[in-house]
């Protein structure tokens, strides 16, 4: 199997104090879309910047397309397309001038006009960057990566702060790139984005990887596929009073809501209702849904991915 990126035991310590990465292993295959998922400060950006050759790791090995940054940095730069988190491009250049400028850095760039067309930026061709909307700026940032005609596309939080329509537009661009055989590494703290877009995911927290696999595999590892959420009027009960119910794999409580991950709804829900009845507590709210990556994260860390 061909690997696009491999890193082993990656560590990064800032100023001898802050441990941003504490031994991270990654293997990203050619042609897949790989997502690094984690809360803010988990070490996602540090990881991606080390892989992009912008940051030196404190220790550990990195290989990109079979090459290392120490020996082949120039060659590698020609093969990678990078969109950083929040770059503010030159405000006084037009979209077209910006792409022409970035294209000029590569030996064999893609024609900027073609990329502009693909990114739906043609009508903004002569607009100054300062006049662009958030979604257009983000598309331009990705376009500056695509003019490189890269083999690997790195996207650091590409959709943070974008409206739903712009997010979908960017997802489509990523899929298009992938369809042509490109490899994508992206970071995100949106679960739905990772679930829809990524072939495989690594969940990162406090500088280590806590789980990895396809979205389906991760959810499978959770034990139950279905989630039961409910709220009662009678206050909280101890978690083990729910875990003894039939079919319950895990219990998570917070803000008065109890979340059960279960194997089969038809076994658990009647038993739950009976248990509530016998305790005389009023059921205020009850929903069931499919398990998501968010549930995986909560299960693994006991925290939510985004506190909002």
């Amino acid at each position: 199997m061909n690997l696009a990126i491999r890193c082993r035991n990656l560590r990064k310590t800032y100023d001898d104090r802050v441990e941003a990465l504490r031994g991270l292993d990654l293997e990203i295959r050619v042609g897949e879309c790989f997502g690094l998922l984690g809360p803010n400060g988990a070490g996602k950006t540090t990881t991606i910047e080390i892989l992009e050759g912008l940051l030196a790791p404190t220790s550990g090995e990195v290989e990109v397309l079979g090459r290392t940054w120490d020996t082949h940095s120039r060659e590698l730069r020609e093969m990678l397309g990078i969109s950083l988190q929040e770059t503010r491009l030159n405000e006084k250049l037009t979209v077209r001038e910006t792409l022409e400028l970035f294209a000029s850095f590569y030996r064999y760039p893609r024609p900027p006009l073609q990329v502009m067309e693909e990114m739906a930026l043609t009508e903004k061709s002569d607009a100054w960057v300062e006049k662009l909307s958030g979604g257009q700026r983000q598309r331009l940032a990705v376009a500056t990566a695509l003019v490189a005609d890269p083999q690997i596309l790195f996207l650091d939080e590409p959709t943070t702060g974008l409206d739903p329509q712009s997010r979908r537009q960017l997802w489509e661009i990523v899929r298009q790139f992938q369809r042509r055989g490109g490899t994508v590494l992206l970071t995100t703290h949106y679960m739905d984005e990772a679930e829809r877009l990524c072939d495989r995911i690594a969940i990162v927290d406090h500088g280590v990887m806590i789980a990895s696999g396809t979205p389906a595999e991760l959810i499978e590892k959770l034990g139950g596929h279905r989630m039961v959420e409910f709220t009662t009027a009678g206050g909280e009960f101890a978690a083990d009073s729910w875990s003894s119910l039939p079919g319950v794999e895990a219990v998570h409580q917070g803000n008065g809501t109890v979340v059960l991950s279960v194997r089969r709804l038809h076994e658990t829900v009647p038993a739950l209702l009976a248990a509530l009845e016998s305790r005389g507590s009023d059921l205020l709210h009850l929903t069931t849904r499919d398990a998501s990556l968010e549930d995986v994260f909560v299960r693994l860390t006991g925290r939510r991915l985004r506190e909002d």
């Binding site: 199997m1 992009e52 050759g53 770059t87 503010r88 250049l93 030996r107 055989g181």
Partner: protein
């Protein structure tokens, strides 16, 4: 990662992603440099403030100062005559001089005359006494006051019938080259080159670092040397344009005379631009925030603004400070440029000053390249 086959091999993918464009474009060695240079110019010209500070402000400053301190013919001294019995007689005595425009005399009350003299509105107060004598009140620390006293004394004595024992005659000579504007324009040029080196390179780089644009560029195969070279050569072109504009303005508006050779002037301009550009690069090598670098730039520029002889000669400063002042790059630049423009000196005669500029530029550049951070 248990789900990955451990017997993989790492290899280049056999196919390059993306359909091959119809016409394959290949960039040459200098494509990046040219695009950076052109992008730099576009960015500059689309910033109206930059055009103002770089091109218009120095001209306005030269115009303003040139008009405020013209070489006023000496003798239009402003004289207050204290009203009283002798006042009319004083006016009569001064009439021939007033007619020639050498003296402007007015009669005021003692109180007014004294107050306005104190405020600098009059250079001299003449008080007639009852015994038909006159009393002068003047300030020996003020040149105009001394001149006014001498002029009025001379005028009144002559009008009263004094015969000079010695016959003298005088020739008027007010040559371009010795006027304030001639002194000022090279100084303004030096100040302007310093400001555009520090702000145009130093501040601009830190701003780009803060926007993460430097990091974005560093993530491409762009040659980093080309980036700095494009910035430097763009600024150099701008500096030569400023030089042409300011000296041209001096020649056209104030009939300034350029005695030295234009080649020497351009060479020293280039050296100055390099030196201040390197200083700008040094100030920008580490700073992460635009606010912190603007503080540094002001600290670097302030002493040179005051001491390097931009607006007035640094000879006014105490002797102990002179070696320090002469070691500043702006002093060296101003002195060398003035010597070439105003005295027609050759470049070879300026070797000490050129050496000072080279040292500042070379040392700054060396340190800046060692310390420079792209992220």
């Amino acid at each position: 990662m248990a789900n990955i086959d451990t017997e993989h091999e790492i290899a280049m993918p056999p196919v390059k992603p993306g359909p091959l464009p119809a016409v394959r474009r290949e960039n040459g060695r200098w494509a990046g440099y040219w695009h950076l240079l052109i992008a730099g110019f576009r960015g500059l010209m689309r910033e109206p403030e930059v055009v103002f500070w770089v091109f218009i402000f120095p001209i306005l400053l030269a115009l303003g100062l040139g008009l405020a301190f013209p070489n006023r013919p000496v003798g239009s001294s402003r004289v207050a005559i204290v009203s009283g019995s002798g006042a009319q007689r004083a006016l009569d005595l001064l009439k021939p001089s007033s007619a020639k425009g050498l003296v402007r005399a007015e009669v005021l009350s003692a109180q007014d005359a004294w107050n306005r003299f104190r405020l600098g509105k009059y250079d001299l107060v003449v008080t007639p006494h009852a015994d038909r004598s006159f009393e002068y009140r003047y300030d020996p620390a003020r040149n105009e006051s001394l001149l006014a006293r001498a002029a009025v004394e001379d005028a009144m004595q002559t009008a009263a019938g004094r015969k000079d024992p010695l016959s003298t005659s005088a020739h008027v000579s007010s040559e371009p080259g010795a006027r304030y504007i001639d002194f000022l324009i090279p100084g303004l040029l030096g100040m302007n080159l310093m400001a555009s080196g520090l702000w145009g390179i130093g501040y601009a780089l830190v701003e780009m670092r803060q926007r993460k644009l430097l990091k974005r560029y560093a993530a491409t195969p762009m040659r980093r040397g080309d980036f700095l070279f494009a910035l430097a050569s763009g600024r150099l072109l701008l500096a030569l344009l400023q030089l042409l504009l300011l000296l041209g303005f001096g020649v056209l508006a104030f009939h300034m005379r350029i005695l030295g050779s234009w080649i020497s002037i351009f060479l020293i301009g280039t050296l100055g631009a390099f030196s201040f550009g390197a200083l700008g690069l040094l100030t920008a090598s580490r700073a992460q925030k635009a606010e912190s670098v603007s503080g540094i730039i002001n600290v670097v520029m302030m002493p040179m603004w005051i001491m390097s002889g931009v607006f007035f000669s640094y000879e006014h400063f105490p002797a102990v400070m002179q070696p320090f002042i002469k070691a500043l790059p702006l002093t060296a630049f101003n002195d060398a440029l003035r010597a070439i423009v105003l005295e027609g000196a050759s470049l070879a005669a300026q070797q000490v000053r050129l050496l000072i500029l080279c040292l500042w530029g070379g040392l700054s550049f060396f340190l800046a390249v060692r310390w420079f951070r792209w992220t």
